[in-house]
């Protein structure tokens, strides 16, 4: 074991003494060094959770940049619809002939941008990276319950990414019906070219994606339930783990429904069924498929779709809870209330899906029910926000890049949550549904809050992943440019929505009344470019620091959680000796009387008589 001399967590050593007869002792470390890892088994087909986490993160970064490029292309189209952008033809070939973006390809870009960001970056990228990295490390497990399933999960994800990328290059273009791929548009190649082979590939890709997500989630759940180290009661788990746990449950319950929706769509497209099709006359002929309902698809899609937004957000909130507490040198306020509100949010997220469908002709009474349940979500959300704010109150705040992103997350979560209340009010939603107001709303919560959570996680746990620190100064610049870029992009967008501008329009030329909004579109695009460029600072910092970053100490942020008791050098099984035992909750920061302003979870109360309170035992 490589014990860092500066290690302020000398208590880690006690672990060995306390782990008598622990169930994990027998599969210790001795066999880990028996075989030499070659390149393939170490980097590619690894079953080690830490390596899989890094694989997820790297793929997500790649996909994220790709999707970001797409958004910059269509943002330029919206801001300068008449301009010729000579580089377009070089970048996207025939779809950008003579520097003009093809209207069909505009829709393809919007569709694939959304799909990649929501599923590949914020679902797989976020959970895949941090659930994999932190669940075993923070719970005191040697690895995931099943390393093999875990690797399989990553490989399904990689395959699904490759298929999605491949669909970008085909003759008829990728899926173009929006990331929600509503039929009949997505079912009929006659309706839009992207609904041909492109849509088939989209569906195949998503089937692999869903399989990957399910394998991952089942693994996370069983690891959390079964492999906690001695003393790690559920009520002593860090909030990160609670968030991953609830997220995984949401995924297991909702992704199968998306699979059902996708399979029925596959049947309608390829096997002559008509689940979603009825009374259609297209391409000069009536369609024989009849008797189905396109609305059925929307019910199925949003039954996943809404929990999905929390699958995206909860891990980000979990990461932020940890980061904000550590860097405030103060316990997270309302630990139990935080868990409770996550559980309530998770429960409610299954009964609000109809708020995406207020104007589909759905029974108005059903609409009222969904208004009721939707607005209820705001209550646990408010509890979380106030708890974060109270955590900062009278804290002792260390401004690290991850802390900045954590605070940014709370700010954008407030902003986006509030506009959600407008959208959840069916009467008000009538006029803003499917406008840029919705685009603004979900980019503030997903595109900003969840992304901030992800960045917070990367900066905070980078030393755990790569043994080095990312450069802080570049991190600060990255944060400030990003938050300015994001608010500058998405705040003005609300006004486009309030002006009645529909989303997914290639150009706002249909209505003269939109002509004077071009200024807003300029502002939005300029800030999007600023925000986009800022990500290169991150990209550079990330890859530069892997090789050249400052060497990290064992516990660089003076945290209480178990992952910082493992050696800096990765090894299979995580702890060279016995697994440490846990004696207290993870948030003993700034405890009165304590020698230092943090007490690791491995320290028994018997060693800290000076700081014990009457409740501690």
């Amino acid at each position: 074991m490589e014990v860092n001399p500066h290690n302020s967590m000398a208590h880690g050593a006690h672990a060995d003494e306390h782990a008598h007869g622990h169930s994990h002792d027998h599969h210790g470390h001795d066999h880990d060094h028996d075989h030499e890892d070659n390149f393939w088994s170490k980097y590619i087909f690894s079953t080690d959770h830490k390596m899989i986490a890094k694989q997820y993160l790297n793929v997500a970064i790649f996909m994220g940049f790709l999707a970001m490029f797409m958004s910059l292309i269509f943002r330029m189209q919206l801001a300068w619809p008449d301009a010729k952008l000579p580089f377009l033809e070089d970048v996207i070939g025939k779809w950008g002939k003579d520097g003009k973006l093809d209207p069909g390809f505009y829709l393809a870009l919007v569709t694939i941008h959304g799909t990649i960001m929501v599923f590949f970056v914020l679902t797989a990228g976020l959970s895949g990276t941090f659930s994999n990295l932190l669940i075993p490390l923070q719970l005191g497990a040697r690895d995931m319950a099943s390393g093999f399933l875990n690797a399989l999960s990553f490989w399904f994800f990689a395959l699904s990414s490759i298929i999605m990328l491949f669909s970008l290059g085909i003759e008829t273009g990728p899926a173009s019906g929006g990331w929600t791929v509503y039929p009949p548009l997505s079912a009929l190649p006659q309706a839009i070219p992207g609904s041909g082979l492109g849509m088939t590939l989209w569906l195949v890709s998503m089937v692999f994606f869903i399989a990957s997500s399910l394998l991952g989630s089942i693994n996370y759940i069983s690891t959390i339930i079964n492999l906690r180290t001695k003393g790690m009661a559920m009520t002593r788990m860090p909030l990160t783990i609670w968030a991953f746990f609830i997220t995984a449950i949401l995924g297991v319950l909702s992704f199968p429904v998306l699979l059902a929706a996708a399979l029925l769509l596959v049947f309608d497209r390829s096997f002559g069924t008509s689940f979603y099709l009825s009374d259609i006359f297209i391409d000069g002929a009536p369609l024989d498929h009849a008797g189905g309902s396109p609305i059925l698809y929307q019910h199925l899609f949003w039954f996943l779709g809404h929990p999905e937004v929390y699958i995206v957000l909860l891990p980000a909130l979990g990461l932020a809870s940890e980061v904000i507490s550590v860097n405030s040198r103060k316990p997270i306020f309302g630990y139990k209330a935080m868990i409770g509100s996550m559980l309530v949010i998770a429960f409610l997220s299954f009964i609000v899906w109809g708020h995406h469908m207020f104007v589909t002709g759905m029974n108005p009474f059903l609409g009222s029910v969904f208004v009721f349940t939707t607005l209820l979500v705001a209550i646990p959300s408010a509890v979380k926000v106030f708890n974060y704010i109270t955590t900062l109150w009278r804290g002792n705040i260390q401004f690290t890049p991850q802390m900045l992103f954590g605070i940014g997350l709370v700010s954008t979560f407030i902003t986006g949550g509030l506009t959600g209340i407008i959208l959840g009010d069916s009467a008000l939603d009538i006029n803003v549904h499917d406008t840029y107001f919705v685009v603004a709303h979900f980019h503030i919560v997903m595109g900003s809050s969840a992304i901030f959570g992800m960045f917070a996680g990367v900066y905070h746990w980078f030393p755990k992943m790569y043994g080095r620190l990312m450069n802080k100064k570049l991190g600060f610049i990255h944060f400030w440019l990003t938050i300015i870029g994001l608010y500058g992009t998405f705040f003005p967008m609300h006004f486009l929505g309030l002006a009645g501008v529909p989303r997914r329009y290639y150009a706002n030329t249909a209505y003269d009344g939109f002509a004077n909004l071009i200024n807003i579109n300029h502002v939005v695009t300029v800030f999007a470019i600023i925000g986009g460029l800022a990500q290169f600072i991150f990209l550079f910092n990330f890859y530069y620091s892997i090789k050249n970053g400052k060497k990290s100490s064992q516990n660089p942020w003076k945290s209480n959680t178990l992952e910082w008791t493992t050696p800096i050098e990765h090894l299979h099984g995580n702890w060279p000796g016995a697994i440490p035992e846990v004696h207290r909750w993870p948030y003993d920061y700034g405890k009165p009387g304590a020698k230092e302003d943090f007490i690791c979870q491995t320290v028994p109360f018997s060693e800290t008589p000076e700081s014990n309170t009457p409740h501690d035992h």
Binding site: F281, F333, N396, I422, D425, I430, N431, N471, Y505, P592
Partner: protein
């Protein structure tokens, strides 16, 4: 144009090299005095927090002054006015919440920056506080939910009532057609298999209710009268969006959807009110429906009732030639036009 690309690459590389220098330098320096460096980071970032709060909120207010005038004018329909009122109430509540929470968040971040001579306040539970911020949002939301729901009930009740001037909005890639139900206020039935080049809506010419139906490529509405839109699509989902009237309803193949509303201002009145002599209402497609989605629309005009009657006379019947032949006396089927169209 390739020059542009090359320039971008060169510029990008230069920036990266520069960043590398900065990073290398920074990590060398930081080895020496990490604590001092973190202290300066704390100072600058906490100042950043308060600056972001103040500048951010100011810019926000400035932008609202700049952009709010560009948003939709006051609603031109009865329920639209109610929606606008409700929107104002909601915005008021939300802005108060927004300001309070953002100010607390960034102010605390600014105020409580690290000081090595201080400990944070070990404060991690307080049921009274949790109760306060559970109960207050609950009360506020209860108010928003009830007002919102009752307005929603008002709006949807009208659509269910089948009262008002019946107009079909028939959507297809990439246009809308309006069919006025005529004197009997009943639409003749239609069926998608009956669609032909000359009968693009697939209307049943033998249905007595068809005889007085009129077809228009423009939606003209009388001011002050209740209008009942009956919405259909023949290919993919579209959405009938009339932003100035706060009206939106999807057009879904295989079913008929409805939206009832009452226009309260004529186009001429809107031109005066907005001070824009070129102001026109519009109907836009607001559900992605294909490559030309962005161009799918229909002009909308609201006129005085008398002018509306005049305009109706100039519109063509669905089957102009057969008009005279159609027996006007046949009773219409008992079920509504809606159900017959939905089959």
């Amino acid at each position: 144009m390739n020059i542009l690309l090359i320039l971008a690459v060169v510029f990008g590389t230069l920036v990266l090299v520069r960043l590398a220098n900065v990073a290398a330098l920074a990590s060398k320096l930081s080895g020496e005095n990490e604590e001092a460096e973190q202290e300066s980071a704390n100072r600058w970032n906490s100042i950043g927090m308060i600056a972001f709060l103040i500048i951010g909120l100011s810019v926000m207010v400035y932008i609202m002054n700049l952009y709010l005038p560009l948003t939709l004018p006051k609603a031109a329909s009865e329920h639209g006015e109610a929606i606008d009122g409700l929107m104002t109430i909601n915005w008021t509540v939300l802005f108060i919440t927004f300001f309070i929470t953002q100010i607390l968040l960034f102010f605390f971040a600014y105020k409580y920056r690290y000081n090595k001579n201080r400990r944070s306040f070990y404060f991690h539970d307080n049921n009274k506080l949790e109760a306060i911020w559970t109960i207050i949002p609950t009360i506020v939301l209860a108010a928003l939910i009830t007002t919102g729901m009752s307005e929603w009930n008002e709006i949807t009740k009208k659509s269910a009532s089948m009262k008002g001037i019946v107009i079909q909005i028939y959507a297809k890639q990439f246009d809308f057609t309006a069919r006025y139900a005529g004197k009997d206020n009943k639409l003749g039935s239609s069926f998608f298999r009956s669609i032909t080049d000359t009968n693009p809506l697939g209307i049943d010419s033998s249905d007595a209710a068809t005889a007085d139906d009129l077809i228009a490529k423009e939606l003209v509405l009388p001011k002050g009268a209740e209008v009942q839109l009956m919405i259909n699509s023949r290919d993919v989902i579209h959405s009938v969006y009339l932003p100035h009237f706060r009206v939106q309803m999807n057009a879904v193949p295989g079913m008929t959807t409805r939206f009832a509303f009452k226009p309260t201002k004529t186009t001429a009145e809107m031109q005066k009110e907005t001070g824009n002599p070129k102001f026109e209402f519009i109907m836009l497609c607001n559900k992605i429906c294909g490559v030309a989605h962005y161009n799918m629309k229909m002009p909308v005009r609201v006129v005085e009732p008398a002018e509306y009657e005049e305009w109706l006379k100039t519109q063509s019947a669905v089957f102009p030639k057969e008009e005279a032949a159609a027996p006007a006396a046949t009773p219409a089927p008992a079920d509504s036009a809606a159900t017959s169209m939905a089959k």
